[in-house]
């Protein structure tokens, strides 16, 4: 067991993947000498060389497009998009090519490309540095979409993503990069499959369904609720596409109430998909409608307002209250 930050866990996970498989490459803006603006790739270029850890020209479409080409040639590129808001120049390559080429080839082509995206707000940044664009990608068939929330998952999930023969969009909660926890790097027995969620806190009254940066917020809300005599179960979805439906439904059937929490706008977001599926599959178990807590239907605001935009403990507990009020 080693105590490490989420960013260090990702770093260690990538290091392990690179040691295990010489075809694994790291590419992106400033990932080499600088080690990335969040230092997630720190030291990898020094240890694996410039051929395997590539500082690319400043062009996201180029990063993903050439990663596809490298994958066609048998490499396993792990691409870093510097911030969530800068993935969009690459949207064409991701949506029209990365997601669809394998099917177009009738399975002859596999594209084991990982696209790492630091996501979410709460760090006082300027425009385009605090977004939660997961729904654009969960809506695109052909992509696996995952989100890690803690160091241990970061360590195991990044390695699973790299080993996956499918393209994986890998969300990293940037404001949790510096949170520390124990990670067991000696053994893989504890790894949960990347496409499975986890109950991170058991409870009986309400299920909080969440992912990435909001997991911690939901755990804090559950703690606070317990002091008021309410038992909240927190499910870390981890995989956003596919959703771990059996896990979600089992939890909601038990508690009878579900609140989805994410930073992305509520409107047309991941929560809508969860609410619809829960309604379809757990209708007779529900004590209240599925409620959603998330960002407003506005662009991410200037940082002085982000505390109002981001779901916090109060907003989560307010939704829990409403769920009980039915």
């Amino acid at each position: 067991m080693t105590v490490m930050s989420l960013s260090k866990a990702l770093n260690e996970g990538m290091r392990k993947a690179m040691e295990d498989d010489p075809k694994v490459l790291i590419m992106g803006e400033d990932v080499g000498k600088l080690g990335g603006v969040f230092r997630v790739t720190d030291g990898l270029q020094k240890d694996f060389g410039e051929d395997r850890v590539i500082d690319t020209p400043l062009a996201e479409s180029g990063i993903i497009g050439t990663a596809i080409g490298l994958a066609l040639r048998g490499y396993r590129p792990v691409c870093e998009i510097q911030f969530d808001g800068f993935v969009f120049p690459a949207a064409d390559q991701i949506i029209t090519q990365l997601a669809k080429m394998p099917m177009r080839s009738l399975g002859a082509i596999k594209l084991p490309v990982v696209v790492r995206i630091p996501c979410g707000g709460g760090i006082g940044a300027v425009e385009h540095h605090s977004e939660s664009p997961e729904a654009y990608f969960t809506h695109t068939a052909g992509l696996r979409v995952v989100a890690c929330s803690n160091p241990a998952d970061a360590y195991s999930m990044i390695q699973q993503a790299i080993r996956s023969d499918d393209p994986v969009i890998f969300f990293e909660p940037k404001r949790r990069y510096w949170e520390k926890a124990d990670v067991d790097t000696a053994d893989t027995g504890w790894w949960t499959p990347m496409d499975k969620g986890l109950v991170v806190r058991p409870g009986t009254d309400v299920t909080l369904l969440t992912h990435g940066p909001m997991v911690k917020t939901c755990l804090e809300a559950a703690q606070a609720a317990e002091e008021e005599g309410r038992s909240l179960e927190v499910v870390d979805l981890r995989s956003l596409n596919p959703l771990d439906q059996p896990l979600v439904m089992e939890s909601v059937r038990k508690t009878g109430r579900a609140v989805v929490v994410h930073e992305a706008p509520v409107n047309q977001g991941l929560g809508a998909e969860l609410a619809a599926r829960i309604t379809e599959q757990c209708f007779y178990h529900l004590e209240s409608p599925v409620l959603r807590v998330g960002g407003f239907s506005t662009p991410y605001p200037p940082s002085k307002l982000e505390e109002h935009y981001l779901p916090d403990l109060d907003r989560v507990l307010d939704a829990v209250d409403r769920a009980f009020a039915y």
Partner: protein, 363 residues
């Protein structure tokens, strides 16, 4: 992996310079400029004042008053030279670092701080100053600028557009597409690339194997490299390029060869990726010192003048600080403002819900 480094490097790059780092006036066959003593003093004042605005902003960030700041240190001449070449009716599209150009467009420096303090996403009306909002997504604004120039062309207006971007930005698809559009439509635009040698931690070699200005010829318009630390040369070259654009001769790419003296932004640590000797070498080419030397050598200014500018800078800095601290935080419900130009039912609903939610805390 070996690559032939000489590939694409025909003649050594030429640099337009009118004022040496030592403050000597030199001649150039294609570009010249005739400045009155008053004009030179005025350029000097601009350079000093924008540097002070920048230093004050860096200090404000250090003290937690700004979230982040992108310093223009070292790029004052490129920005003041090109900015002062613009006429009122010309339109400028900046990145996030063009505080000096903003100054030339009469944007009150306090308005630049809004974005970096996090109270808004850009606090001025672009139409009022013919100075567009800062654009953070690298390269996007180059296409907007070309489109704007195409509008000028259709209006038969006596104006041109200038767009600013960095050396890193030249790799973006948008920037290359903007070159194509400008060329095909012969748009009245000046592409002003401040090559400050770095894109965060990546040196120029990560973006190009040929001098950037030479890219222009492949797109079908002229390119010129100018000493970006020489305010006279930047002014002369930009003035000529804008004139050509207004007269229907189409685009020009200007590569202002300069250096980012500071960190990429206040969150960056350049000691991780570049050597101190590089910085020392560029210090000798300081854009302000050479104008000062020129003024002295030619007896165009005395110590009283310099002191006066210094005092003005002190005043400006203190004033900026005071007004920054006084900037009000936006109201929570401002989140819902200006998302749409016309009424939008969902926004109205969410605004009302959130207002009720906030009231719940007051009760």
């Amino acid at each position: 992996m070996t690559i032939d480094a000489s590939r694409g490097a025909e003649a050594p790059p030429e640099l337009v310079q009118l004022l040496t780092p030592e403050g000597e006036r030199v001649q150039h066959p294609d570009y010249d400029i005739d400045l009155t003593p008053e004009e030179v003093r005025s350029l000097y004042r601009d350079l000093v004042l924008v540097r002070r605005v920048d230093l004050e902003a860096v200090a404000l960030q250090r003290q937690g008053e700004l979230g982040i700041w992108a310093s223009l240190l070292g790029q004052e001449a490129a920005q003041i030279g090109s900015g002062r070449a613009l006429t009122d009716s010309d339109m400028a599209f900046p990145t996030y670092r063009e505080h000096g150009v903003a100054w030339c467009r009469d944007v009150d420096p306090i308005k630049l701080l809004g974005l970096f303090r996090g109270v808004n996403n850009g606090g001025w009306d672009p139409k009022e100053h013919n100075f567009h909002l800062y654009t953070i997504v690298i390269g996007s604004q180059t296409l907007h600028a070309v489109g704007y120039a195409m509008g000028i062309q259709r209006d038969d207006a006596a104006a041109a557009t200038i767009v600013y971007f960095g050396d890193g930005a030249t790799s973006q698809g948008d920037v290359n597409e903007s070159f194509i559009w400008a060329s095909v439509f012969n748009a009245p635009i000046v592409f002003f690339c401040q090559n400050n040698q770095w894109a965060i931690s990546e040196p120029l070699e990560r973006q190009t194997r040929i001098p950037l200005y030479r890219r222009a010829s492949g797109f079908g318009f002229p390119g010129v490299r100018v000493d970006g630390n020489d305010v006279f040369a930047c002014l002369a070259v930009t003035r000529q390029a804008l004139k050509n654009a207004r007269e229907g001769q189409g685009p020009t790419l200007i590569e202002a060869f300069t250096y980012r003296m500071g960190a990429h932004t206040t969150t960056d640590d350049p000691t991780r990726y570049r050597v101190a000797s590089e910085l020392e070498a560029w210090k000798l080419k300081d854009p302000i010192e050479r104008v000062k030397a020129y003024l002295f050598k030619n007896e165009l200014a005395d110590q009283t003048f310099l002191d006066g500018v210094e005092a003005e800078a002190d005043q400006l800095g203190a004033d900026l600080r005071r007004r920054c601290l006084a900037l009000p935080d936006p109201e929570p419900l401002a989140i819902f403002d200006h998302v749409y130009a016309e009424p939008h039912a969902l926004i109205d609903e969410e605004r009302a819900q959130f207002a009720a939610y906030l009231e719940g805390f007051e009760r």
